[in-house]
């Protein structure tokens, strides 16, 4: 019954217009801003639920499509639709936004209405990006979300916020403009900006490699991959808690989504040629960045590096496909790797959000992110410690949590490709255990480190609720990932069948 409703447009414009409403109504009334912001976020989340329930499993077609003419001069249309890859990411976005809005309740004191508005506008733009079937529409949303994020980091961030936010903006802008040139080139070839028409476009190998590199610039910066990851620790450390959560839980996924939506299907032959590079870069992210995470003294920075390492798993899962095919001659393992990467993205959305919220909980109390300032927190905040340990375990990929499922699938796929790739990828389990558990040991356990820690009060109901929700999803996805895989399977099989056909 929902298939004909303009749900996607509602999901895009409700938060954007709601954001401006919050700004108008709540500028001088923080209470109004908070409540209205929450109402809009919850309404958007509720409105996104039909996507999950009315989504037709077993088909790779775009669903909930909407089409309207937008820029006739360039044959650009307002064309929306979701498939099994984008739909779960949209739900993740609406859920995480609710979490972020609640998390800002007390911790953001300065200009709360602007903060809520920025978060809601960003939500609408991110959903629009995931739902776009037109390349220009995609690009508009992709770029536009930089503006609110730029302001969020710059206004509510830490001491080096200006440096971090300009670096963030320029890095991502740098990546995306090359993609724009590639999109325009394909438009000239195909006469249409529809992404599916790009999929069908026959392109020579040289052009494919150049297009692949242009996409790589855009998405590798976003996700981020080694060596263009350096903006992320800066942005994460300086961003306010909500900004970090949005960045880690959703914005990084845009890079992964882009690889699946653009790079693999449009340039399959270039992906096959360059897959060694992608795998090597992914393994560097997993191993080297894992080692870098070990020595961090700042909690947020540690989690930021851990995010990069986990995203390395995502790109590894995506680009193993061609390697597996040339080794085994069948595409079965390829689906496994891509599905693993997708599960890892969703799972990391919950876990990284929870980890950054946990740091936010501590930061709100002591205004320090330094690991050395804490110790023995379990003595004063037992509930907090319980959640923190749970999410730490999920971060290391403990079976039973969502972190395990994705990593297991990717490692399994890696075994089909090459033992040594699987071996290196599996070291992440050790490294992640190393840096996460060491963090837990230093912050949570041990004797009470100082009088500040002794004076800590445990989580309030609001924080408890947030942690509980994220813990619920982390465990649910860990023990019962089947519903998520059901949603994605048809789309991923279709994608794999598509990339199996050479365009040459």
């Amino acid at each position: 019954m929902f298939a004909d409703w303009p749900i996607l447009s509602l999901l895009i414009w409700l938060p954007i217009l709601g954001g401006f409403l919050v700004l108008a109504a709540g500028r001088d009334a923080p209470h109004v801003a908070r409540r209205l912001g929450l109402a809009v976020a919850v309404a958007t989340f509720v409105a996104s639920l039909p996507l999950w329930f009315a989504f037709e499993r077993g088909t790779a077609d775009m669903q909930f499509q909407e089409l309207a003419s937008w820029i006739p001069a360039f044959n650009v249309n307002y064309h929306l639709g979701v498939d099994g890859i984008s739909m779960p990411l949209i739900l993740l976005t609406t859920l995480i936004t609710v979490v972020v809005v609640i998390a800002a309740w007390e911790s953001v004191k300065d200009r709360i209405a602007y903060y809520m508005a920025a978060m809601l506008v960003m939500e609408g733009l991110m959903i629009g990006m995931f739902a776009s079937m037109d390349a220009v529409l995609f690009y508009v949303f992709f770029e536009a979300m930089l503006i609110p994020m730029f302001l969020v980091i710059g206004i509510w961030g830490g001491p080096r916020r200006v440096y971090a936010t300009i670096k963030f903006f320029l890095y991502t802008f740098l990546g995306s403009v090359f993609m724009l040139v590639a999109l325009i080139w394909m438009y000239i070839q195909s006469g249409s900006f529809l992404i599916q028409d790009f999929h069908a476009l026959q392109i020579g190998l040289t052009a494919q490699i150049l297009i692949f590199l242009a996409f790589f610039m855009a998405f590798a910066v976003k996700i981020p991959m080694f060596p263009v990851h350096t903006w992320l620790p800066d942005a994460h450390v300086e961003a306010p808690t909500g900004g970090s959560v949005i960045l880690a839980a959703i914005m990084l996924k845009i890079g992964g989504y882009g690889f699946l939506r653009f790079s693999l299907p449009i340039t399959p032959d270039a992906s096959a040629v360059l897959d060694t590079m992608m795998i090597v870069l992914s393994l560097i992210a997993i191993v080297y960045i894992g080692l870098v995470a070990l020595i961090q003294s700042d909690m947020k920075k540690l989690i930021a590096y851990s995010s990069i390492a986990h995203m390395g798993f995502v790109t590894l899962g995506f680009f193993l496909a061609f390697y597996i095919y040339s080794n085994t001659g069948d595409w079965e393992g390829a689906s496994l790797g891509i599905a693993g990467g997708m599960v890892q993205m969703i799972s990391h959305g919950f876990i990284s959000a929870a980890m950054f919220l946990a740091v936010g909980v501590l930061y709100d109390r002591l205004h320090s992110r330094q690991i050395a300032d804490y110790g023995g927190v379990v003595n004063t905040m037992p509930w907090f410690a319980a959640f923190f340990v749970l999410f730490a375990m999920a971060n290391t990929g403990l079976p039973g949590t969502s972190g395990f499922v994705g990593e297991f699938m990717v490692i399994l796929a890696a075994f089909k490709a090459d033992f040594w790739i699987a071996f290196l990828a599996a070291t992440t389990l050790i490294l992640a255990a190393g840096y996460t558990l060491w963090l837990v040991k230093r912050v949570i356990f041990g004797a009470v480190a100082n009088e500040n820690v002794a004076g800590l009060s445990d989580m309030n109901r609001r924080e408890f609720f947030l942690m509980g929700v994220l813990a619920f999803f982390t465990l649910l996805l860990g023990v019962w990932p089947a519903p998520l895989l059901d949603v994605m399977n048809a789309t991923i099989d279709h994608l794999v069948a598509h990339i199996a056909q050479s365009k040459l």
């Binding site: 730029f150 325009i184 080139w185």
Partner: protein, 482 residues
């Protein structure tokens, strides 16, 4: 010699503006200083009425008149309306600025109106002489405008520089025109084009020789590198109200001038002028964007930003396709609207005895007036070409034209420099939103009536045109392609 009465109808808006300019000049002479608003009101009414006339007479056909020296076509109509709109905005923004400085004189508006007339003739010129006369009418009015704050030595210096370099450019233009006339035997744009098609190979070298002078003169007038030296000095030295004027509407006219001269007249030599424009475009993009970073004066920064925008404009034209010309037309209109808003913000922040022409003056604007900080944010992101503002579609259109003409490398050069350009726009955003106001300037900015409303509309237009760019893009396509 038989004399036939020409068809006056296509030139009715020009004749109306000319008549009104003369009339207002006389009326103004009899007005006491306290009644200058009458002049202002009459000038604005003239612009509105001229817009009404042009829109009323708009039609899809191309009409030539006055022995084929004057043309009225959809491109001319649309560009003229764009000139009226930007000039209207400029006069509106200028009024409070002039009043606060005691230079609210009738000359400003009357000279402005003559400049508008010059632009209209440039837009509708179909003969080398008409084009030249239009350009000179605009230029002479502009020199006088820059100089009209007589007791300000910086403005006088800027006017001197502007005049000397402008005269040099006019000389080059005439020299080039005379070469072309010598080779083709005609001043008529259409005849020149026909002659060029039929021209013998041996004429190629003298023709290209003349072409070089035309291109150089156009580059001088538009301020493309390496003929840009006057732009920052004149923009910086002129009173902000005048900078506002010369930085906006004349660019639209210059685009039309370029279209008439190079595309319609010299079209058959496209292969020759394409290379010249590529050099100018790349240099303008590079120099404009890189040097803007080092500026501390916002007027100079915007001057270099204009130079970079001219580089983008050339990219659309040099592609040599109809969609390329349409994209350049879209670009120049978008540029004029955005630049009007940008310089308008400087006027908005300035007050008696205080120019607000340093970038630091924008510090903490979000605390002093969050709404106008938001407006400025939109304008800056539009200049940087970030969606969802209209500046993005302008860049999209010209990059598409370049890629379509197999100049992918040029598109890549352009986007690289636009990233560099993004930095200095971001720096202003950073100062407005992340920094605290300067000492002595903490008090909120009090917006004054019409200026505040117009500026808000200007800023929101940049956003709305960005969300619904289809109409304006279709209009420019209609103007060029039909």
């Amino acid at each position: 010699m038989n004399f036939e009465i020409p068809n006056f109808l296509p030139a009715v808006p020009e004749m109306f503006v000319l008549g009104m300019a003369c009339l207002i000049l006389v009326i103004d002479a009899f007005l006491p200083d306290s009644r200058r608003d009458v002049t202002y009101g009459l000038v604005q009414a003239t612009l509105v009425a001229a817009a009404g006339l042009t829109l009323w007479m708009m039609g899809p056909e191309t009409v030539l008149t006055f022995s084929d020296t004057f043309v009225k076509d959809p491109m001319a109509d649309i560009l003229k309306v764009a000139v009226y709109v930007t000039s209207f905005l400029v006069f509106l923004y200028s009024r409070p600025y002039l009043m606060e400085r005691g230079i609210h004189k009738g000359e400003f508006y009357v000279l402005g109106l003559f400049a508008v007339l010059g632009m209209m003739i440039m837009i509708s010129g179909h003969n080398l002489l008409t084009l030249y006369l239009g350009l000179e009418l605009l230029s002479l009015s502009s020199y006088a405008l820059v100089a009209f704050w007589r007791d300000n030595s910086r403005a006088t210096e800027a006017a001197m520089k502007y005049f000397v370099l402008g005269a040099l450019a006019s000389g080059l233009l005439l020299y080039g025109m005379s070469m072309i006339y010598g080779m083709t035997g005609s001043l008529d744009i259409a005849v020149i084009a026909a002659e060029l098609v039929a021209a013998d190979e041996s004429l190629n070298i003298p023709l290209v020789f003349g072409l070089v002078f035309l291109v150089v003169a156009i580059a001088f007038k538009l301020g493309a590198v390496p003929f840009h030296m006057w732009v920052p000095d004149v923009y910086d030295g002129a009173p902000t109200a005048v900078t506002l004027f010369i930085a906006t509407a004349p660019k639209i006219a210059a685009f039309a001038f370029l279209m008439r001269l190079l595309v319609e007249g010299m079209g058959p030599l496209h292969a020759d002028w394409q290379g010249m424009l590529i050099i100018l475009a790349v240099l303008s993009l590079a120099v404009g964007n890189v040097i803007a970073i080092a500026q501390t004066s916002i007027k100079r920064m915007l001057a270099y930003s204009t130079i970079a925008h001219i580089g983008f404009l050339f990219m659309g034209i040099l592609a040599g396709t109809d969609s390329g010309y349409a994209s350049a037309m879209f670009y120049v209109i978008v540029y004029a609207i955005t630049a009007a808003g940008g310089f308008g913000m400087i006027v908005f922040l300035s007050r008696k005895g205080y120019e607000a022409d340093q970038i630091d003056d924008f510090k903490g604007l979000a605390k002093r007036n969050p709404w106008f900080a938001f407006i400025m944010l939109l304008l800056l992101f539009s200049m940087a070409g970030v969606p969802p503002t209209v500046g993005f579609y302008a860049k999209l259109a010209v990059i598409q034209a370049a890629v379509g003409a197999d100049l992918v490398w040029l598109a890549i050069v352009a986007v690289i420099f636009s990233i560099i350009g993004a930095f200095y726009y971001l720096r202003v955003v950073k100062m407005m939103f992340f920094d605290d106001p300067q000492e002595g300037a903490e008090e909120p900015v009090q917006p004054s009536g019409a200026l505040a409303t117009a500026l808000s509309i200007n800023g929101l237009a940049v956003l709305l045109l960005g969300i619904f760019p289809g109409l304006l893009l279709s209009l420019t396509h209609y103007a060029i392609i039909g």
